[in-house]
């Protein structure tokens, strides 16, 4: 390709592209990785652990009773319930059952997840520090409640780089809920590079229009004429390089070639029309509709197949302050089958063992009701003191439950996993020591886990 440009650029320059600016201090991975890539199915809004994962039989009989002060402790109450004069216990209206050989407890909202109960590791003792969406989501994605830090995907890209010359290492897929009612907004900082060079920011793949912004040639420009133009451009830039010597020019030439390759590789990647029927059975019919969580799960698998390092999905709509029972079934339906389908699909392709899949949100929800409490209709406020999420593949114990909450699902009872612990563990599974993955900024070595974080050994396979 480049030969045609009339200016020779060795493959060395192309290779240098992806490690541009690299000089040695730390070498990653630090040890043999268990996972080569991550698919993070982020559930924005705060899914209710009490209605999905955390089985609390003891409070079944405590409907509308006050939560004991000893349990309530120093709970920071949000402004949304600050006017409530009492905090009545709200047992879930959904039934729970044990599934698989492992006997994982899951609610009736998650029938498909139940089928992969033996593949997943449910962490039932997650906890976070924030009580509102923006800081909580920023915390779990960047390790800090305040903006400005690189996100998990950026850190991973920075540390491990890409194994695919034609695609970005860090891809972001946003999904719209099936009911079309996202509540909380997302922020591009969630996939931003913070103080890392901005090339480490996630590349958003869009479901409408170009999958990658400005991927397509403008109307009237064919692939052939684009090639001719790029040949001319490479020649002009090559000439310039001969004259002024700046190595940035070589990088630029290479990046135009990468762009040209992406114009072919990305449409091929997002075209799921040739997937067999069996795949749509697995992920559900929604997977045919671009922009749904199901379609994005399928895309995530295709990205993983192409060795994209970090695939970040966002699903929104879990912020159920009121009318939870009217809203949560749709959200569960959006995500249950596709997420379970993804696990099965990865497994059947032999990829689950080195692909880490994570399903979870920024916090859980309160055991006490927000607003009017009925047995079959209630709302729950944000709750960070304990919540649940699950992980699968990539070196995590299958069919395992880790940690637990107290009998109210309010506080951690045992083996609490702090957000920084989760982050340390994700990096560990990728073969990265979270204390060694640092970047100098403002005179200090920063890291994802700030000054804390412990690898959760108990979930490692």
């Amino acid at each position: 390709m480049l030969a045609r440009a009339g200016y020779g650029l060795g493959t060395a320059a192309l290779g240098a592209l992806l490690s541009a600016g690299a000089r040695a201090a730390n070498v990653f991975p630090n040890f043999t990785p268990r996972a080569k890539r991550v698919i993070f199915l982020f559930q924005s809004g705060g899914p209710s652990h009490l209605d999905l994962f955390d089985h609390k039989p003891a409070i079944r009989e405590m409907f509308d009773k006050d939560i004991p002060p000893s349990v309530f402790g120093g709970q920071r109450v949000t402004g949304m319930v600050a006017h409530q004069d009492r905090f009545p216990i709200c047992p879930t209206m959904y039934t729970f059952g044990q599934h698989g050989q492992s006997g994982q407890w899951l609610s009736s909202l998650l029938p498909h997840t139940a089928k992969v109960a033996d593949e997943i590791c449910v962490v039932r003792s997650m906890h976070t520090e924030a009580i509102n969406h923006d800081p909580a989501i920023t915390f779990i994605q960047t390790g800090s409640q305040l903006p400005g830090r690189p996100c998990l995907g950026s850190w991973v890209d920075y540390g491990l780089g890409s194994e695919n010359q034609n695609l970005p290492a860090f891809v972001v897929l946003n999904s719209l809920p099936g009911n079309g009612q996202p509540d909380q907004g997302l922020l591009s900082r969630l996939w931003g590079a913070g103080f890392l060079p901005s090339r480490y920011q996630g590349v958003q793949f869009r479901s409408a229009g170009d999958a990658v912004l400005h991927l397509s040639n403008p109307p009237g420009v064919t692939r052939e004429s684009r090639r001719a133009m790029l040949d001319g451009l490479a020649s002009l830039n090559g000439r310039l390089h001969e004259r002024v010597g700046d190595p940035e020019i070589e990088t630029r030439i290479a990046q135009y070639e990468m762009a040209y390759r992406m114009q072919a590789s990305v449409p091929d990647l997002v075209d799921t029309s040739k997937e067999p029927e069996s795949v749509f059975k697995l992920y559900g019919e929604d997977a045919r509709k671009p922009g749904t969580f199901a379609a994005n799960c399928l895309l995530a698998r295709r990205l993983a197949e192409r060795n994209v390092r970090f695939i970040q999905l966002y699903h929104r709509g879990w912020d159920h302050h009121g009318g939870l029972t009217e809203k949560i079934p749709a959200l569960a339906r959006d995500t249950d089958q596709p997420a379970a389908g993804l696990i099965l699909d990865l497994k059947q392709r032999g990829m689950l063992k080195d692909t880490l899949v994570i399903w979870g949100g920024e916090f859980g929800r309160t055991v006490y009701a927000q607003g009017t409490l009925k047995r079959d209709n209630y709302g729950r406020d944000h709750h960070g003191r304990v919540f649940s999420l699950w992980m699968a593949g990539g070196g995590v114990k299958a069919g395992h439950s880790h940690g637990s909450s107290d009998e109210f699902g309010f506080n951690v009872a045992e083996d609490g996993v702090h957000v920084h612990d989760l982050q340390a563990t994700i990096l560990h599974l990728l073969g990265v020591d979270h204390e060694k993955l640092t970047y100098p900024f403002q005179g200090r070595q920063f890291r994802l886990t700030d000054v804390s974080g412990h690898v959760v050994r108990g979930i490692l396979a």
């Binding site: 690299a22 000089r23 040695a24 730390n26 949000t78 402004g79 949304m80 319930v81 600050a82 006017h83 923006d134 989501i137 903006p147 920075y158 780089g161 509540d183 909380q184 907004g185 997302l186 922020l187 591009s188 900082r189 931003g192 060079p197 901005s198 090339r199 869009r206 409408a208 229009g209 912004l213 400005h214 991927l215 040639n217 403008p218 109307p219 009237g220 420009v221 064919t222 052939e224 004429s225 001719a228 133009m229 001319g232 002009l236 830039n237 000439r239 310039l240 010597g245 700046d246 190595p247 940035e248 020019i249 630029r252 990046q255 135009y256 762009a259 992406m262 403002q442 005179g443 070595q445």
Partner: protein, 1062 residues
């Protein structure tokens, strides 16, 4: 597998080693301290709480102290120094730094420390904390090379390195470089030609004159503002997940004006930090303080107010540190600074300066957060001044007639009938009108009886099921009041629920009319005070004991597409005359038309339901409410219908107050004197025009001080709910210089301290940033950190010379910029051979001219300018150029309010300079971010410069660049003669500022041939390409030919040389 760099550390060590060899003697700050700081101070530094083994190594006293008979550092004797023993210990358990710290000393670093101890282990004060002094001019190899005094220091360094400066850039190349740096726009070929002629003729003088021309263009202020907007974290939305719109563009325009008028930097600083505290501050000076409010503001429902208010104050400290001081003050928020001599207490003493703003943690749901002011534009101010002059003239004429008027006992009557159709009338004749009538008594009113609120306990309520109001529909309130001396702040009609917990998101919803400081205040609220409309009259002057007619008209949403309530929908009247208002908050959301149902409001008569709520102690009478907006004459008729009979009665009884006599006088003159009536009508229309103009004024958030100030405590671990020791405003004087004598202990004093001519940091930090703007990297590469972990300057003497000169010149920014671009250092050719690039890849030694990719804004602005598309208009609200459709979809919140929809501009606003592009923090414009623009969530003084495939895709395919290429092609065809070669060479020169060489010309021609062949065979393709963008294609041109030229022009615009300043 991939490797990562510890860039800073390696670079420092390498630079240090090279310099040490050069000078023959170690310099602590440059060679030694970075090693100690990076590896030792974390545990053996100034943070007493984290200090291990009670050993500190950051002071000579600490390091040399005898402990157990031994000392960490024994000057001159490294082998006896425990420090050296431990860093070279063979046993891992003894070795420092410990393995667990992830810190590691190289052999070269250990050798450096050994040498330092051998040389006497001298410590030195951190260079950046001592005032800059003008260094003596050095002896250099070629004194004639220098064009500015500081050039000599650059040459001295090159001499020491055995390097020669590069030859000067060609005049045209310099002109392009300087134009892009000073105006952000390239010079035209005609300007280059003229300059080259000038340079041949008058040499050096031509350069100076060219710079003066650039500095005189308004584009200069726009270019200079760009970097400051990053530092000042300017944006058009609030940030956080709701990310609604804010209006701060008046502040942005202030910055542009400040640079263009060459405001001295000390004033630039003072007005932004403390313009409101200057004596009799001007509107501009108050607008300038918007700097302190540019931080992100969170409106997420249910957050804890104090938690976020604390964040805002902390952000101001962080920004103070990074933008003005070049210090990482925020590192001392939770504990003492690990590296710099800044304690946590110091941090909170800075914090105390910014802690007394009357602001709210949760605010900014649909528009600006409090406090804010109306900030009319220059044009509006001028128009208003003209109207005010005309009003004053006419008012004087009218007053003259009124003065001469004598009452002859004649009757006067209202000129119009009372408007009919009131939804609710309360005449206050009997207590039976009220439901309930708790505590209510009757007294003499303006007409018959009036009511008087009693207490304690819940009082009387207006009758009926309530007055139905929707936020989109108009309504009118009118009534008579006679205030008592106790009514400094009293509810008149209150339907706001103040009974809930103020922390609740449902606190304070409703509607209310109050009397506040003799003015009428209207509150229309969803959650008080943040999410409310709050408007207060300015000039009603309601004095105790006087009967006054007050009215309020809410016009509702005339425009169905309105996305929030606007304060401009509210008009307040006193005695039938509209009074100007001050908008205290304009934060009320507007439900969508289909869901906006009327809410019934039941008014409490003269009392509010807050615990220990206030009561109106005066009299209320003749209250009426309409479900429509009454016009001015109707309000006047309402007033006169009661005022005139009452005043006449009082005049006849000889007890009329002067105000009451005036009512009769005005009505009487209007009846009898036709000229008076005409003048009065004219005056009313002038006032109407003036009031309308006021309503159009944009708002800006500003700084304000609470009286008394809010007490400040050290916050333990930085947490809002863990106050510790109380502190007063102050600065670390022993480190950074003494407080100026007599300066007030507020932001104004802080500004005076920062702008002391001998302040060690202020001038250095900004001079370094201007250097960075021109040279790509600062003399101190860590332009955000001049602290102990910051990089030692590559050329300390250059920095100090410039800083000293800048402060001594009266902080003259244009003079500084002129010096920089005229310097021999700047004027070097930027080309370099591979040996020099290998030796000095970042050009730290300055042996060549600067060469780096343009910032995002300039790439776009330049393309528009080259294409002839750029709209040259300075200032104004932000604009919405092309953006991919649905970019916000899937990211922004579901609710619909200003900031959640991107409604593209039309016409010239599509082609404004990029600093006017709407800056939405959570979804910044991709044409900006792809070229490394930050999201502006916090202060940034250094952008990264990356080189990515997404940038290539943007320049190739983003409609704005496709359109620019097409318009450039039109220029080539129109201006480049009739031969393809001339046309292409013209386009090339427009874009690069230089002539294409033979090879380049050949590539252009060859590509054109291929494109011509392609488009001649593909007429629809040609038409499609020409249809991209809103500007029409020249219909006189052959579409195939134009499309082919557009393709080649696109290639030119994508050249590395074009998007690079070289």
């Amino acid at each position: 597998m991939k490797t990562i760099t510890g860039v800073l550390l390696c670079a420092l060590a390498a630079a240090g080693a090279a310099r040490a060899a050069e000078s023959g003697r170690l310099e602590y700050g440059r060679d030694v301290r970075p090693i100690l700081s990076e590896n030792c101070f974390h545990c053996h530094g100034q943070d007493a709480k984290k200090r291990m083994a009670n050993l500190r190594l950051d002071t000579f006293e600490g390091a040399a102290a005898i402990r157990n008979g031994r000392a960490a550092v024994v000057p001159g004797k490294p082998e006896q120094s425990v420090l050296y023993q431990r860093i070279t210990a063979a046993q891992p358990a003894l070795r420092m730094p410990p393995a667990a710290s992830n810190r590691h000393l190289t052999e070269a670093q250990a050798a450096m420390l050994k040498r330092w101890i051998s040389e006497g282990a001298q410590y030195a004060r951190h260079w950046a904390f001592s005032p800059a002094v003008r260094p003596a001019e050095p002896a250099v190899s070629d004194p004639r090379w220098a064009k500015q005094p500081f050039d000599a220091f650059v040459l001295k360094r090159l001499d020491a390195e055995g390097l020669r400066p590069s030859k000067p850039a060609a005049p045209g190349a310099w002109l392009r470089r300087a134009s892009l740096d000073l105006t952000g726009l390239p010079p035209s070929p005609a300007q280059i030609d003229a300059f080259e002629r000038d340079a041949r003729k008058s040499g050096e003088a031509a350069y100076g004159a060219a710079v003066d021309r650039m500095l005189g263009r308004s584009a200069y202020g726009e270019r200079m503002a760009m970097d400051w907007l990053d530092a000042a974290r300017y944006a058009d939305t609030h940030g956080f997940n709701n990310d609604a719109e804010r209006s701060m563009w008046r502040w942005r325009d202030w910055v542009i004006e400040a640079f263009n008028s060459n405001m001295p930097y000390d004033r630039f600083l003072t007005e932004q930090l403390a313009g409101d505290l200057l004596p009799a501050p001007t509107l501009d000076q108050r607008i300038a303080t918007g700097f302190g409010r540019n931080h992100v503001i969170n409106s997420e429902g249910g957050i804890i107010d104090e938690e976020y208010r604390v964040e805002y104050v902390a952000d101001r400290v962080r920004t103070l540190g990074m933008a003005w001081l070049g210090l990482t003050l925020e590192c001392a928020r939770c504990h003492d600074h690990k590296y710099d001599p800044i304690t946590q207490r110091d941090h909170y003493r800075f914090y105390a300066f910014f802690n007394s703003v009357p602001e709210i943690g949760e605010d900014g749901r649909v528009s600006n957060a409090v406090p804010m002011i109306a900030a009319p534009t220059r044009q509006q101010q001028e128009k208003a001044a003209g109207l005010e002059r005309a009003i004053a003239q006419l008012a004087a004429k009218i007053a003259g007639k009124e003065k001469r008027w004598v009452w002859k006992g004649r009757d006067v009557a209202a000129r119009a009938g009372v408007p009919a159709g009131a939804a609710l009338e309360v005449h206050c004749e009997t207590t039976g009108e009220f439901e309930p009538a708790n505590g209510l008594t009757l007294a003499e009113g303006i007409a018959g009886n009036a009511c008087v609120t009693g207490g304690p306990g819940p009082g009387a309520q207006a009758p009926g099921k309530g007055f139905p109001v929707s936020r989109r529909e108009p309504f009118t309130f009118s009534g008579w009041i006679q205030a008592s001396a106790m009514d400094e702040d009293a509810p008149l009609l209150s339907a706001i629920d103040y009974a809930r917990n103020p922390a609740s998101t449902t606190y304070g919803g409703g509607m209310e009319f109050r009397l506040a400081g003799g003015e009428l205040e209207f509150r229309f609220s969803q959650r008080f005070p943040a999410y409310s409309l709050r408007v207060r009259s300015e000039g009603a002057r309601i004095n105790p004991g006087e009967w006054r007619h007050v009215a309020l008209v809410y016009t509702g949403a005339a425009d169905k597409t309105a996305m929030r309530v606007h304060a401009s929908w509210v008009r307040i009247f006193a005695d039938g005359r509209e009074i100007p208002v001050r908008v205290m908050n304009d934060g009320l959301a507007l439900p969508e038309a289909k869901t906006d149902k009327p809410t019934p409001y039941r008014f409490r008569m003269g009392w509010e339901n807050a615990p220990n709520g206030k009561r109106f102690a005066g009299r209320l009478d003749e209250v009426a409410l309409w479900n429509r907006g009454l016009n001015g004459p109707e309000i006047e008729a309402l007033f006169e219908s009661r005022a005139l009979p009452y005043a006449l009665g009082r005049m006849r009884a000889n007890v009329a107050a002067p105000g009451e006599q005036a009512w009769v006088r005005a009505a009487s003159l209007a009846m009898t004197d036709a000229e008076f009536a005409r003048d009065r009508a004219k005056l009313a229309s002038l006032r109407e025009e003036w009031l309308a103009l006021r309503r159009e004024a944009p708002f800006v958030m500003v700084m304000q001080e609470l009286h008394p100030p809010r007490p400040t405590h050290v916050l333990m671990r930085g947490a809002y709910n863990a106050p510790g020791e109380q502190v007063t405003p102050g600065v670390p004087e022993s480190i950074l210089g003494t407080w100026p004598e007599g300066a007030p202990r507020n932001r104004l004093g802080l500004a005076a301290w920062l702008t002391k001519p001998d302040h060690p940091l202020t001038a250095r930090v900004v001079v370094n940033r201007f250097w960075q703007q021109l040279f790509g990297l600062g003399l101190v590469k860590t332009s955000d950190n001049f602290g102990l972990q910051g990089e030692f300057p590559s050329h300390p003497e250059v920095l100090d010379w410039l800083a000293r000169d800048f402060a001594d010149s009266g902080w003259n920014v244009k003079a500084l910029m002129k010096r920089l671009v005229l310097s021999a250092t700047y004027r070097q050719d930027s080309a370099a051979g591979s040996a020099l690039i290998a030796r000095d890849p970042e050009n730290r030694l300055l042996a060549r001219g600067p060469r780096f990719r343009l910032p995002a804004e300039l790439i776009r602005d330049q393309a528009l300018e080259i294409a002839g598309l750029l709209t040259h208009r300075t200032g104004g609200p932000s604009v919405f150029p092309y953006q991919p459709q649905d970019l916000y979809k899937g990211i922004v919140v579901a609710a619909d309010y200003p900031g959640t929809r991107y409604l593209p501009s039309t016409g010239g606003d599509l082609y404004r300079r990029s600093l006017y592009t709407y800056w939405k923090r959570t979804v910044p414009h991709p044409t900006m971010t792809v070229f490394d623009a930050p999201d502006r969530e916090f202060c940034v003084v250094r952008r990264s410069t990356t080189n990515t495939p997404l940038q290539a895709l943007t320049l190739l395919n983003d409609p704005i660049y496709v359109e620019a290429a097409r318009k450039l092609a039109e220029r080539a065809l129109r201006e480049g003669g009739s031969a393809p070669e001339g046309r292409l060479r013209h386009a090339f020169r427009l874009a690069t500022g230089r002539a294409a060489d033979a090879h380049e010309t050949e590539v252009l021609l060859k590509t054109l041939d291929r494109m011509l062949a392609a488009y001649r065979a593909d007429a629809p393709g040609a038409r499609a390409l020409l249809a991209t963008g809103a500007s029409p294609a020249d219909p006189a041109m052959d579409p195939a030919e134009l499309a082919a030229y557009a393709a080649v022009a696109g290639m030119i615009l994508n050249m590395d040389e074009v998007i690079t300043k070289g």
